[in-house]
Each structure stands twice: as C-alpha cells, then as structure tokens.
Amino acid sequence: MYFVFPVLALYAVFFLWPGLSGVWYSFTDWSSHHEDVNFVGLRNYVQVFTSNSDYSRYIFNTVRFTLISNIVKIIPALFLALMLNQGMRGRNVYRAILYFPSALPYLVIGLMFRSIMHPGNGLLNKLLGAVGLGFLQQEWLANPSVVWGSVFAVDAWRGIGYVMTIFLAGLQAIPDELYESANIDGAGFWRKFFHVTIPMLIPSITINLTFGLAYGLKVFDVIYVLTNGGPGRETEVLGTSVFREFSNGNYALSSALNTLLFVFMAAAACFIVTRLNKKAVEL
C-alpha cells in the first residue's frame, strides 16, 4: 500500500482532480467574460441539446466517425495482417511501408492531402482526368456528399498500418497446431478463419476496438487539419466544437461538451471490454 501511495497521489492530483474539476465546471457559467463562477445546474447541457448551434449533430457526427472509421480500418487491416503473416517475400518491407503513415504527424498529413485533394490543381483530380475518369473529379473536401468519404480515406490511410501491427502480433501468437488440426479435419480457409483465427484474435480485436473507439470519440486532429469542421459545419465533431467553444472563452460549455465526450467513451469502452472478454478463447 505504501509503495502504491505516491503513484496514487500523483494520479489523483494530475488526472482525477482536473477531470472532476472539469465535470464541476460544466455545471457553472465559467467564461472568459467575467471573473466569478456561478453554479447554473444543467443549463450548459440544455444548451447543447436545444440551441441552434447544432451540437446534437456534432455528437451524431462523432458517433458516425467512430463507427465508420473503425470499420474501414479494422477489416482491411485484418486481411492485410493475414496476408503479411504468410511466408511471402519482402513481407517486412510491406509491413514497414504500411506502418509508415502512422508515424507521420497529422499536420503533415493534413497539408499533404489538402493539396492532393484540391479540386483545381490537386493530384487526385488531375490523375482522374489523365486516365479518362474526369467524371469522377470532385471537390473532395468541400462537397458535402463526399467530404466524409475523404476524411475516412485519409484516416484509414494513416491508421491501417497501426491496427494491422496489433493484428500481426495476435496472429503470431496463435499456435500452428490449431491450424494443423483444422487441416486434418479438412477445414478450408474460411472455416479456419471463422473457427480458429477470429476466436484466437479476440484479444487483438478488443484492443483495436477499444483504442479505435477512444480515438474516434475524441477525434480532433484529422478533422481540424483537413476540413476545420467544414464545409460549413458538415464535419464538425465534439472534439472540434470543444476547441472552438474554449477558444471563444465559453469554458463551461466547453467543459459540458467534454464531459459528454467522457461519458460516451466510458460507456463504449465498458461495453466492448465486457462483451468481447467473454468471447475470448483462453489457451
């Protein structure tokens, strides 16, 4: 107990106290425009769900980003991991190439893709035009019908390598004997995939889903650098609106949005960990 106490004290001072303070401030009128801080009950939460400022839509956008960004990363990453877990030549090079975007800062990625996706002189539209697919040219980051697709594509380009690495670690921990037994029983690829690989990968899936949910719910940087919440407010999410309200000096409202974010994250994480842990196979 005595050994744990210093760490516990640090945790309480630097994590618990600021977190709980944030929750408390979400029930006040704290702002940059006046010195005193008064308790206002649920006023900030009421404003989040009733004002013209569309916070409800930002919450919906956040949930949408979380779900879709995980789907478009986890499924391809799983198959890439299966592919690169085979004894193919140059697999380490491919792994490095796929992982490389994860090492790039989002600021660099944002600037790069904003340039690539510019409708007038961007590489993407020029390429489409050059190969006779000019009809597919778009305002990738300014057309409300395609902007989310562009965001998911960039996010997947960056994140797939990381997710794949976790799957690879999980795949390498599956004993060969299980596949050999399945082979003797005459199981094909899909049968082995669903009855050996997936059950044995549950811990990796849990890790990826938990990380993915946490990342998706608090997403900020990829949106901020690519679209800044636009066009209009089309890609505004909770993370960018927290930043915007804080910048505008609306600290209490910003804290309320942040508290909501925390509640969503905690609920989602609890759900995933409890559900998937039950399905994990122990050796």
Partner: protein, 440 residues
C-alpha cells in the same frame, strides 16, 4: 589554495564574459536583453517581405530574434484565444479588432494584454484607430493598416469592354446582368473563396451603411437589442442575393474549395473578371504578373443596390501578451517597428498596400485607379456609418461562425433566415456572458 584560486579565476571569467556580453548589446533600451527569442503569431495574409526585413534589421540592431509564426487564416483567431486562455500566449500577436471587438478577440484585455499606454508610438496611429486597440481607457496595441477603399469589387475593365459591358454596374440588377454575360463567355464572373472561412461573408457586412440608410436607427437598435438580425428584411434579402450568385455559378465551380492564394492568378489569367478585395490589389496583381496589361477598375459592392462607401476604421492590430517573460524586449520591438524609417520599409515591402494609415510622413504609393475612384466618392456616401461588423456589437466576434453558416446556406443546409437566427443566438450568448444590460 589552488582550488580557491581556480574558483576565483572561474568567477572572474564568468563576470568578464557577462560584462562583455552586456557591452555587446546594441541599441537595446529599457532593460531589454539581447539573447532572447520572441514569438510573433500572425494570420496568413497579414505578413509580407517588409516584416521579414524589419525582423532581420531588429536582430542586427538588438540581437533579439523574432520567431514569426504564420497560422492559416481559418484557424488563427481560435488559436490565439486558446493560447491566451491557457496562459501560453505568444509574446506578440495580431488579431482583427475594433472598438466592440477587442474584448472578444483577446478574451480579456486587462488580463492578457500588455499595457502600452505609456508608449511613445501611440500617436503614430490616427485617432480614429485608437478605440480599436483601447479598453477601459488603456492602450494595448498598434494598428498599422492601409487606408485604401476596402472591400469592393475590383474588376477587369478591358474584359468588361470586350464583353460589351461598357460601364461598371451601379445596381444589383446591372451586376446580375454583367455576371450573366461574363459567365456566358466561359469566365468566372467573381473569384470567391469559402475555404479560408473569412472572405465570402464580406459582401454582407461591407454594405452596412446601406442597411442603415434604408433602415434609419438600425445600428442603434442592434446595439441596444431592440432589433434582432432575423427581424431585418434587408439582411435576409442580401443573404439570398449572395446565395443566388453562388447557385447561378457566378462564383465559379470551385468557390467552396478556393482560397485567397489563387485570387491574383485568377484575375491576371482572366479566369475571373472580378475579385472582392481592397483597391490596392491592383498594384499587387501587376507586380506579380507583369505580362498582365488589362485595365482595371473599382466599383462598390452592389447587393441591395448599394451605393455607400465601406468606411471601416478597424483592421488587424499588433498586441503583446501580458504573460510574456520579456516585456522590455517586446516593447523594444514595438518602438523599433513604429519608427518612421521602419514604417516606410514596411510599406515598401508590402505589395498589397499602396499606403499606410499613419500620422507620420511616409512616401505613399496610391494607384491612379484608387485616386480616380476616391475622387468620385462623396462625403454623403462615406459618412453614414461604419461597416456592419465594426459599427455593431458582437458581430465581428462571430465572423468565422457566420461564415460557416453562410457556407451551410450555399450547400442548402440552412436558409438565410436560419443564418440570421443563429447569429442572434450567438450575439445573445456573448452579450449575456459579458453582462451587457441590454441583453438581460
């Protein structure tokens, strides 16, 4: 004994080095140190070669380094406020400000801005600009901006003539007809850019005096909260007129993705016939594209048949953060920057400006187009009111938010009425949080 001697020798060396370093400072005053780096945060589009030249000169003179941080326009104001609020404000920064905006733009002037009330350079600014950098009778910043007519339509007169448009449009209907002709010729009538977030809302606000002209007492009503934005039929009309330009293709195919960076090229290559900017952009286009020989003209924005001049004694101003570790060095830089010779360097090294609005004598570079345009403007057109964002409270505070709503309107996600209602809600929130009695 040897140890004591070595210690004394060491201390003596350190002392000598300190004295030498101190003696090497050139031109620093007021306790400023030479070996420091100051951060200067500006929005993209607010800094020019003249600033870099001054930074270099300042370093040569004082040894103080200025780290210029240029932030994308769409993110600059949010970032400044976030950094100030978190106690991590840059030593020096620029923000768009006016008499009503200074509090909102800097979060809390008395808390976050370095008091400059005793500085000798305050009288370099014209008196009309002082309220924009002052709060509760204290002066905090330096506003150096040009005095060119801003923002109006700058158009390609040669192209207009070639297309049979023989005179600049004087009404909304004439503007609409001119745009139709230009579009029919395969040219974008107006180069508009939404992606920067700050520009496409200008036409709505710049014709503020026209609203006042048609609705006497409007500004007063908006400021004492007896009139709401959503109540003003003219506001809705103009938003719809602007939206109709976007929908008819007058802003071009990629106006939602366009940025200011493409503006001059669009003009010089005849991809567009009109840009909405300040009049001095003409000299900038000519300097960047010497092969461009077309004659240029200037006319007022014509939504709501506007014929009033956009008077606007506001603009970006330079402030220092009260939490800076180097207040003396920061003040040293402000003094250096505002010396007459250095203001001339700034003006000469700023291609977008033809003049600087200061009280000290500078060699200005007004263009013939500007002089001709201003000669045709009467006092009656100029003296009605300032532009809407400068003359009304809690309006410029939400500049980017209003722009985002207008973008939503262009995409069909919001109506003009909803844009105005959202503006009223934000005005009320800001006013209440500032304790404005008119909103209680």
């Amino acid at each position: 004994m040897k140890k004591t001697f070595a210690l004394i020798l060491g201390l003596a060396l350190v002392l000598c080095a300190s004295v030498w370093a101190g003696g090497n400072r050139q031109g620093t005053t007021g306790g400023a140190k030479s070996n420091v780096t100051l951060t200067w945060m500006v929005s993209q589009g607010w800094t020019w070669p003249g600033d870099e030249e001054l930074i270099q000169k300042f370093k040569e003179k004082t040894g103080i380094t200025i780290d210029l941080q240029v932030i994308p326009a769409a993110q600059h104001h949010d970032l400044v406020k976030a950094r100030l609020s978190s106690g991590e404000g840059p030593d020096i920064f620029m923000v768009q400000t006016n008499e009503f905006l200074i509090k909102g733009a800097t979060v809390d002037p008395e808390k976050y801005l370095l008091d400059m009330s005793a500085e000798p350079w305050l009288n370099v600014m014209p008196k009309s600009r002082l309220p924009a950098v002052s709060y509760n009778n204290k002066n905090y910043g330096f506003m150096l901006w040009h005095n060119s007519p801003e923002h109006l339509y700058v158009y390609n007169k040669t192209l207009f003539n070639e297309l049979g448009i023989t005179k600049a449009p004087e009404t909304f209907a004439e503007m609409d007809a001119a745009c139709q002709k230009i579009l029919a010729a395969g040219i974008t009538p107006i180069y508009e850019y939404v992606a920067d977030g700050w520009h496409h809302q200008l036409p709505f606000f710049q014709i503020g005096p026209r609203y006042e002209q048609r609705n006497p007492g409007l500004y007063k009503g908006l400021n004492d909260n007896t009139i709401k934005f959503a109540d003003v039929a003219d506001f809705e009309t103009v938003l719809n007129q602007i939206n109709s330009f976007a929908q008819k293709g007058y802003y071009g195919r990629y106006y939602m993705s366009n940025t200011q960076a493409g503006q001059n090229e669009a003009m010089a290559t005849r991809q567009a016939a009109i840009i909405t900017f300040n009049s001095s952009v003409i000299s900038q286009v000519r300097a960047e594209y010497p092969e461009f020989k077309d004659e240029m003209g200037i006319c007022l924005i014509r939504f709501l048949d506007n014929n009033t001049f956009p008077s606007n004694p506001s603009g970006p101003a330079m402030f220092a953060c009260a939490q800076t570790r180097y207040p003396n060095e920061v003040k040293e830089f402000f003094r250096f920057y505002t010396e007459t010779a250095n203001l001339q360097i700034k003006l000469d090294g700023t291609p977008e400006w033809t003049n600087a609005d200061v009280t000290v004598p500078l060699q200005q570079h007004w263009t013939t187009e500007e002089e001709a345009f201003m000669a045709g403007i009467t006092d009656g057109q100029k003296n009605i009111q300032a532009v809407l964002q400068t003359g009304t409270k809690y309006t410029n505070d939400q500049w980017m938010e209003f722009g985002a709503d207008m973008a939503s309107m262009f995409m069909g996600r919001m109506t003009a009425k909803e844009v105005l209602q959202a503006t009223d809600e934000r005005r009320a929130n800001i006013a209440r949080s500032q304790g404005d009695p008119a909103w209680r």
